[in-house]
């Protein structure tokens, strides 16, 4: 590879791609700093005239944003580790099955993924109502007990598939229990999958609007997606408020993403190419 090509592949292309994804975020941030009540901009503007944090101040006056934020954080801190744990255990379970049972399990997971979510709304409501959980945020955590979605289980099953049988057998011969094999041998080899599952589980639970709409009661229990939904009804001149809400909603996601990258590897590209071991 020539140095020009290298420059292109290593720096220019990634920069262009990153720019494409970062631009909307910048537009969102700048928009949130516009003065409330001013007409929407008709063209491109780099720094909004009269940039101010008033949008954020008005937003917190209008809605109990800190309550929503607290509830969303509570849901995700419980649901994400739980999803990872359940998905990892279930995925490892599938890995240990014999060939036929494994195929059955994978096909069954795929079939379950085909069930439309709306078909489960009422039955789940009834389960939560029986457990007297309607109104609290616990129904939002509950899907994590099933690994959030079968897709996350399949990611782990696929990742564990890369571990050779010989390694597992050797560990068994050394006297390791299934639990120890999972924890000490298997999990350390699939850290990229863990990263992916954690990020996907976070995305799901952080942005979970429908479950919040159906099962939460009372604004003090609302999470961000449900609480901020009402901002869509604001007038065009109040757009900075909507974008301030979007910033509040997005910043934690970006923080989690950056943190996850740092936790697992300094060079995410290398992780993707070669795994983490």
């Amino acid at each position: 590879m020539g140095s020009a090509e290298k420059l292109f592949a290593r720096h220019i292309l990634p920069a262009v791609l990153a720019g494409l994804f970062v631009l909307p975020l910048i537009a969102m941030l700048l928009g949130s700093l516009r003065p409330v009540g001013a007409p929407p901009p008709t063209g491109l503007e780099l720094i909004p005239p009269g940039a101010t944090f008033e949008g954020f101040r008005r937003l917190t006056q209008l809605l109990p944003v800190s309550t929503y934020l607290r509830n969303s954080v509570a849901v995700t801190t419980l649901a994400v580790p739980l999803s990872v744990l359940v998905a990892a255990l279930a995925g490892f379970g599938i890995r240990l099955l014999d060939h036929r049972a494994k195929v059955t399990a994978v096909v069954a997971s795929l079939l379950v993924m085909l069930v439309p979510a709306s078909a489960l709304w009422a039955t789940r409501f009834r389960v939560y109502a029986t457990l007297e959980l309607i109104g609290s945020v616990l129904p939002l955590v509950a899907p994590a007990l099933l690994g959030t979605t079968p897709f996350l289980v399949l990611i782990y099953a696929w990742a564990f598939h890369g571990i050779p049988d010989s390694q597992l057998h050797a560990a068994r011969l050394e006297g390791a229990s299934t639990w120890t094999v999972w924890r000490r041998i298997a999990m350390p080899q699939v850290r990229a999958a863990t990263l992916a599952v954690a990020v996907l589980a976070f995305t799901f639970h952080w942005g979970n609007f429908v479950d919040a709409l159906l099962y939460l009661r009372g604004q003090e229990n609302y999470t961000l997606p449900l609480g901020l939904d009402t901002l869509k009804l604001l007038r065009p001149t109040e757009f900075p408020l909507l974008l301030a809400g979007a910033v509040v909603f997005t910043v934690p996601s970006i923080a989690v993403f950056l943190l996850a990258n740092r936790l697992f590897d300094d060079d995410p590209a290398r992780t993707l190419r070669g795994g983490t071991h």
């Binding site: 009422a122 409501f125 009834r126 109502a129 159906l214 009402t230 869509k232």
Partner: protein, 438 residues
């Protein structure tokens, strides 16, 4: 173990697992109102609205709780009516509906048909605080599901009217829309104000069953074969076609309504705010937005135009409080009584969004607000004697969702007129056929 003790125990267990949790959802509790402020009865209220409206409801509920210390109201607002319906259908199917909810008259039928609502009529008859005669009759009629007994308590009586840009009208030397103005006046004003080169159009209106209805009615036609049990849309009836064709021609023949691409790039409400639309057809709900956003021209509201030789009329837009039979209607009714009293209706009227169904409040400065535009707010009150409503059967809103899409295709010329009308009738008939026998 009693229900509430069991609930406390499970709540306690869960609290250990989760710090930031509170167990709400007390709607299924069978506790009765004891009047003891130390152990308030909790009721759950679900309604829809933007931040400003929800703030109005919150104020109203606080005022209610101040004089009813034995009741604790748990308010769950959602943004849009579709979200509200998803929430309600799931809650009803799951057996734990809210005690009280606010819903449009075109959408309560699906609940009423299943018998899950507690009729308001006996409560209203027995009430010492509010009486049937206090309220506008057309909004009450729309909520008599069986045609006789009041099912839900109407909260407002909004109607479709014509907002217009006074400055554009004056600049073109046009008469302002007033009672008795006709389709010809309406169309002439639309033509005079349409300047496509400047992105300016005469009339902004969405293509929907609700918007075509007043045109059809004014020309003596009807939308359905049977108001209480429709089996078809009578869109091919000659009298109906007069109104329907006039409406479709506004776009297809006259071009006084923004075409498809223009409407998609700048919706009518925003075009009106931008000063590039002469007339904009909507209900009272536009008022807060227009007040907030328009500062550089004068705007007002006028009545719907009348067909040649026809009758003045418009279409009802109204919401009501419905009580779940399976929850605690006795307690919910106390909140309804308060909300529909002078104090409750005044608090809501101040938001500017609703036309109160309570006539004394509708005729008071709380609604008419002489200082604020539109100057002719009286138009909404003058329309009450002639307003008509669409059917409110269980399948109506589903039909409307699908037929509105087809109507839009015809209105914007994506589908041939005759073919589109035939399709609308076919769709409506197949959906009406799903109606549960009453």
């Amino acid at each position: 173990m009693t229900r509430s003790a069991r609930r406390s125990l499970s709540a306690l267990t869960l609290l250990l697992a989760l710090v930031a949790t509170a167990c709400g959802g007390s709607s299924a509790d069978e506790e009765s109102s004891t009047g003891d402020p130390t152990d308030p009865t909790s009721i759950e209220v679900v309604l829809f609205g933007g931040p400003a409206e929800v703030a109005g409801y919150t104020r109203m509920i606080e005022a209610f709780e101040a004089v009813n210390p034995d009741v604790d109201v748990l308010l769950s607002p959602v943004a849009k009516q579709d979200d509200l319906l998803a929430n309600l259908t799931t809650a009803f199917a799951g057996g734990q509906p809210p005690d009280l909810f606010l819903v449009n008259y075109l959408k309560y039928g699906q609940f009423a048909a299943q018998g899950v609502l507690a009729d308001v009529q006996p409560y209203l008859d027995a009430s010492e605080q509010i009486a049937e005669a206090d309220f506008a009759e057309p909004s009450m009629d729309a909520f008599r599901f069986d045609g006789e007994n009041l099912t839900c308590m109407p909260q407002n009586i909004s109607t479709l009217q014509v907002y217009y840009n006074v400055d554009l009208f004056d600049a073109a030397g046009l008469d302002h829309p007033t009672a008795g103005w006709t389709w010809e006046d309406f169309l002439a004003a639309g033509r005079a104000l349409t300047v496509p080169e400047d992105g300016q159009y005469g009339i902004g209106v969405e293509a929907s069953v609700q918007r075509i209805a007043p045109f059809i009615w004014s020309a003596g036609g009807d939308l359905v074969d049977d108001q209480l049990a429709p089996t078809t849309l009578t869109l091919d009836d000659p009298d109906t076609r007069t109104g329907l064709d006039f409406f479709l021609d506004l776009q297809l023949e006259e071009g006084v309504v923004p075409p498809d691409v223009e409407e998609q790039s700048l919706e009518s409400e925003e075009r009106f705010i931008a000063g590039q639309l002469g007339m904009y057809l909507n209900s009272r709900k536009s008022v807060p937005t227009l007040r907030e956003s328009i500062s550089d021209f004068t705007w007002d509201v006028g009545p719907m135009p009348t067909a040649p030789g026809g009758t003045p009329t418009t279409v009802l837009h109204g919401d009501a409080y419905c009580m779940s039979a399976a929850a605690q209607p006795d307690v919910a009714w106390r909140l309804v009584e308060f909300a529909m009293g002078v104090e409750g209706q005044t608090i809501l009227a101040e938001s500017g969004r609703t036309v109160p169904s309570r006539l004394d409040v509708a005729n008071s400065p709380a609604f008419l607000e002489p200082e604020e535009p539109p100057a002719s707010a009286q138009v909404f009150l003058d329309a009450i004697p002639t307003v008509r409503s669409l059917p409110h059967t269980a399948t109506w809103s589903q039909m409307q969702n699908e037929v509105d899409d087809q109507l839009e295709d015809v209105f914007y010329g994506r589908v041939d007129r005759e073919e589109g009308i035939a399709r609308m009738i076919e769709t409506a008939e197949s959906i009406f056929a799903l109606e549960l026998p009453q």
